[in-house]
């Protein structure tokens, strides 16, 4: 196992925040349980999801599967929208990453569907440092929101994050989460 594997250190070495840091997701079942427990969740997918290959598919394909299985509305950021549409999936919305981040800090915002604020925001596929900063904004200014990253790198500003793990372990974890989130 590589040195950075399974340790909860920020992926970019110097991006050390604190005192409050993300709880480490050690088992994908725990992440699935938290996703299932959320009453109003939202999945924010950045452009890198369409670039990252996980064996025979792209990360974005896993996210579409997850969104469908758990019935999570998706916000595509940057040009990720075109990749969703190419796959025949219509996200709930698309907007810049900083825009959705900003809206999530607003307790008055009723969400994309107007039905009220979200309680869990899942992030994946943004540039590491950009996700880091946006999650920092939410950590400090969205007290009623929990955040989770589904990337394979530790994002210390999330409420929950995987540690730095290999692509193989990542795919395994995502498969478990997708399997577990459906149904009652």
């Amino acid at each position: 196992m590589k040195k950075d594997m399974a340790t909860a250190e920020p992926w970019q070495t110097a991006e050390i925040p604190g005192p409050k840091k993300a709880l480490v997701i050690t088992k994908p079942e725990v992440a699935a349980a938290m996703i299932k427990r959320a009453k109003r969740h939202i999945l924010i997918v950045g452009h890198k999801a369409a670039e990252i290959e996980l064996e025979d598919k792209k990360l974005i394909d896993c996210m579409i599967e997850l969104a469908k299985k758990a019935n999570i509305p998706v916000v595509a950021t940057a040009h990720a929208i075109s990749e969703f549409l190419k796959r025949g999936y219509q996200p709930a919305g698309w907007m810049p990453a900083v825009d959705i981040g900003n809206r999530l800090t607003d307790p008055e915002w009723k969400g994309l569907d107007g039905n009220g604020p979200y309680d869990l925001a899942l992030f994946v596929g943004l540039p590491y440092y950009m996700e880091w900063t946006i999650l920092s904004g939410l950590k400090h200014f969205a007290p009623n929101l929990k955040t989770m990253t589904l990337d394979n790198v530790y994002q210390p500003n999330a409420s929950w994050s995987f540690p730095n793990i290999s692509a193989k372990d990542w795919l395994e974890n995502l498969k478990v989460i997708i399997e577990k989130v459906g149904g009652e």
């Binding site: 070495t13 925040p17 604190g18 409050k20 950021t77 810049p96 900083v98 800090t105 950009m130 904004g137």
Partner: protein, 777 residues
């Protein structure tokens, strides 16, 4: 002047010991009446700032969860907790932004002060400020607007500098523990820092244009050489890095006066390079700031001359590796070297050539010129272009030492896949390392992270050597100001929206995916007949691209400030001409009073001038202050994804209809105008997102229906091409049926019906009640 009167008898009485003190006698030559805010204080424009900040609220993204600025600390501010001094997280973040902008503003202003002092000494206080002959009557639009004075000579710039220096001091004092407590007031002061920064930049650039014979608002400024491959390595090479051109001028003058013109290559990195080519047609630009390590390590430079700003602080160390003597020429950057300013030039030359010292501090630009040239001539045959870039065999051999620990990748700001490339190199192929060359920002953090001390950056440069040597481009030398006549020609189509926008690509080179993205964006918008303006490192990146015919964008597009032009204004301090152009549209085209009339002009620009700044690779505090000068003036700024590290955005909320009302100056009615422009400061994740947003941010409430239709055409076209679908928010930008692009009418009308769209009016827009001509009964 001080007047003291011991006793004065008058008809009304006796006055004793009268003492009068007069600071300055102003000879009034400018007929325009003084506006409301000459030499504005920290709070003079606070109401305007509040209007902007009410609409564009800060979204803070703390880069650090604690405050460690005083001995109470560290204080944990997590979750907007308050620290020992009482500050909360929002206040702390805005405070840090203010400090950054003060650093940026002070840097330009300090640069301007040194430059003006030197130029006054050389050319005299009465040297006229001619920056464009009869073509530029409004020579200093920013200074006129902010200060309410019309500088005519170099000496006139001194009082302007006195003012901005005072403001920087006050602004910095605001950041002391136990001063300002409101984040919104910090933000207002951030705007103030940006505004005075624009003044400082303008002072610096008009002073050097007026004295050094730079192109004067010339749309046909010469095309000059850009790129590593343009430099003749057979000659002695003097490399100048930084922003203050004065020492470089000393070098070029000495060369010319002593018959060495053409014998020595003088080239530059960063903004000094721009200004070298504005002064000297044979001068060459190596590239943006991120080329520093690769060029020094290549062994090509024989002497390295450092002035100020954006210089790698390890330049001396790097230059020592290639045995190139260093001359530091600014008191802001002494590098620990011995001050040899008062020593005879030949003695310094002897010590540098003989290797008795690695470099020298010389604070006399003429002496810098003599020493640099003499050292270059003597040291070149001795150095034999000694380099520290390894040969291919060595790269392959040493790559085998790589432990695949990932530390290099985790240190890389771009998260480049270095370990995979090292593995391939160890197996004998450098192709993957070569792929990293164009994405690498040249920071060198990978090397410091490497536990076995591999010179990773040098490996990447070696692998990309072919590309490096083939870098032979052209950039139009910085032209400086925009002509008044150009403003007259484009003022109407810009304000009415028929020229879809003015897009300025500025700033540094911390690009997320290489500089080619800047060239691509410039070309896209020039092809769409926007006016494209460039400056600084972005202007260089815009030129580092060739089309199928082998032409760079500056050869393909005109240098005029006109639809479809790509206009390089020059170095960082030339950014002031971009703000100046927007100001001149309000003044020259719309005939709004300029003098100390900041609020009205900013209101005009926000509502009518579709200008957007793009700092795709912004990294510095100067870039932060330049951006903040744009915000107060109503010009939105787009940064790349690294820009989120500036800690806060200023974002509008398109979904909050109540935020997007203006007064119709004709009636006093409040009118909904849609989110135009939607954001004031915003970081895009990718160039695709940036391009769509740039087109959107060019929309303004004042657009005519024809103009809005043109702008919508570009927005929709880019959105469809890059996002694969129609914009979701199209109904927010259609005010009347006439706004709809004719070729998309059916599709858009259908969307409007689905969205239950209602027609509104196109107002004479303003946020300022005092500009309403007729009050509602």
């Amino acid at each position: 002047m001080r007047v003291k009167i011991g006793e004065l008898k008058t008809d009304v009485g006796l006055v004793k010991n009268l003492e009068l003190s007069i600071g300055r006698i102003v000879e009034e030559k400018w007929a325009e009446p003084m506006g409301p805010t000459p030499f504005p204080s920290l709070t003079a424009l606070r109401e305007w700032d509040m209007k902007l900040l009410q609409r564009y609220k800060p979204f803070y993204m703390p880069f650090c969860d604690v405050c460690c600025l005083c001995t109470f600390g560290k204080c944990d501010l997590t979750g907007n907790k308050r620290g020992a001094c009482g500050i909360d997280m929002a206040g702390q973040q805005s405070r840090i932004v203010l400090i950054a902008c003060c650093i940026g503003a002070a840097t330009h202003i300090g640069h301007a002060r040194h430059l003006v002092e030197h130029l006054i000494e050389t050319f005299g206080r009465r040297h006229p400020l001619d920056v464009g002959g009869l073509n530029v009557q409004v020579e200093a639009p920013v200074t006129r607007l902010v200060c309410g004075v019309k500088p005519e000579t170099l000496g006139d710039l001194e009082e302007v500098l006195d003012y901005v220096e005072t403001q920087v001091t006050h602004l910095l004092s605001v950041a002391h523990t136990g001063q300002e407590g409101s984040n919104i007031d910090f933000e207002s002061k951030v705007f103030h820092a940006g505004m005075i920064d624009q003044v400082g930049m303008e002072v610096a650039d008009i002073a050097q244009i007026a004295t050094y014979g730079f192109p004067k608002a010339d749309p046909e400024a010469p095309l000059v050489d850009l790129g590593f491959g343009t430099i003749n390595v057979e000659k002695p090479v003097i490399l100048c890095i930084g922003h203050n051109v004065v020492p470089s001028v000393g070098i070029i003058d000495y060369m010319k006066e002593n018959g060495f013109d053409g014998e020595i290559e003088v080239c530059g990195l960063c903004c000094t390079a721009h200004d070298i080519t504005r002064y000297y047609k044979r001068g060459k630009i190596v590239g943006p700031i991120s080329w520093q390590l690769r060029f020094i390590r290549s062994g090509v430079p024989d002497v390295v001359v450092l002035d100020e700003q954006c210089i790698r602080t390890d330049s001396l160390y790097e230059a020592q590796k290639i045995k190139a003597p260093v001359i530091v020429a600014s008191e802001k950057n002494c590098m620990g070297l011995q001050n040899r300013t008062n020593d005879p030039a030949d003695a310094i030359v002897e010590d540098l050539v003989g290797g008795k010292m690695p470099g020298a501090l010389i604070l006399d630009p003429e002496k810098v010129g003599e020493v640099a040239v003499k050292v270059a001539l003597k040291v070149t045959p001795l150095r034999k272009k000694f380099k520290v870039i390894p040969e291919v065999d060595e790269v392959i051999q040493r790559a085998k030492e790589c432990r695949q620990c990932n530390d290099c990748r985790r240190a890389c700001p771009q998260d480049l896949h270095i370990p995979e490339a090292m593995k391939a190199a160890a197996e004998g192929t450098l192709a993957k390392l070569a792929d990293l060359y164009e994405l690498c920002v040249g920071c060198g953090r990978c090397e410091h992270a490497c536990p076995v001390g591999l010179p990773v950056h040098s490996f990447i440069v070696k692998a990309g050597e072919k590309k490096l040597k083939e870098e032979t481009y052209k950039v139009r030398a910085g032209r400086g100001a925009i002509q008044d006549v150009e403003i007259r020609n484009v003022g109407s189509p810009i304000v009415l929206g028929e020229i879809p926008g003015v897009v300025a690509f500025v700033g540094c080179a911390n690009y997320p995916k290489g500089g080619a993205e800047v060239a691509e964006m410039c070309t896209e918008f020039a092809n769409r007949r926007y006016i494209v303006v460039t400056s600084g490192c972005a202007a260089m990146s815009a030129g580092m691209y060739k089309d199928e015919e082998g032409k760079v964008p500056y050869e393909t597009f005109t240098g005029e400030f006109a639809a479809g032009g790509i206009v390089n204004v020059g170095s960082c301090v030339a950014n002031s001409h971009i703000a100046g152009a927007a100001i001149k549209i309000a003044n020259i085209f719309a005939k709004r009073n300029l003098r100390a009339n900041y609020e009205e002009i900013a209101d005009y620009i926000l509502n009518r001038v579709g200008a957007v700044g793009v700092a795709w690779g912004a990294y510095s505090q100067k870039a932060a202050s330049i951006a903040s000068g744009c915000w107060r003036l109503g010009i939105p700024v787009v940064v790349g994804p690294h820009g989120t590290k500036y800690r806060r955005m200023l974002l509008g909320r398109a979904d909050r209809g109540e935020d997007w009302h203006v007064y119709d100056a004709r009636t006093g009615e409040k009118v909904y105008v849609g989110p135009a422009p939607e954001h004031l400061f915003y970081a895009a994740e990718t160039k695709e997102e940036a391009m769509v947003m740039i087109a959107k941010l060019c929309m303004r409430p004042n657009d005519t229906t024809k103009g809005r239709a043109i702008k919508l055409t570009h927005y929709i076209d880019l959105h469809k091409r890059l996002f694969g679908t129609m914009p979701e928010d199209i109904h927010l930008f259609v005010r009347t049926i006439g706004d709809i692009p004719i070729t998309m009418k059916d599709e858009i009308v259908r969307i409007l019906e689905e969205k239950k769209w209602k027609e509104t009016v196109v107002p004479d827009p303003t946020l300022l009640p005092r500009l309403i001509r007729k009050r509602k009964e």
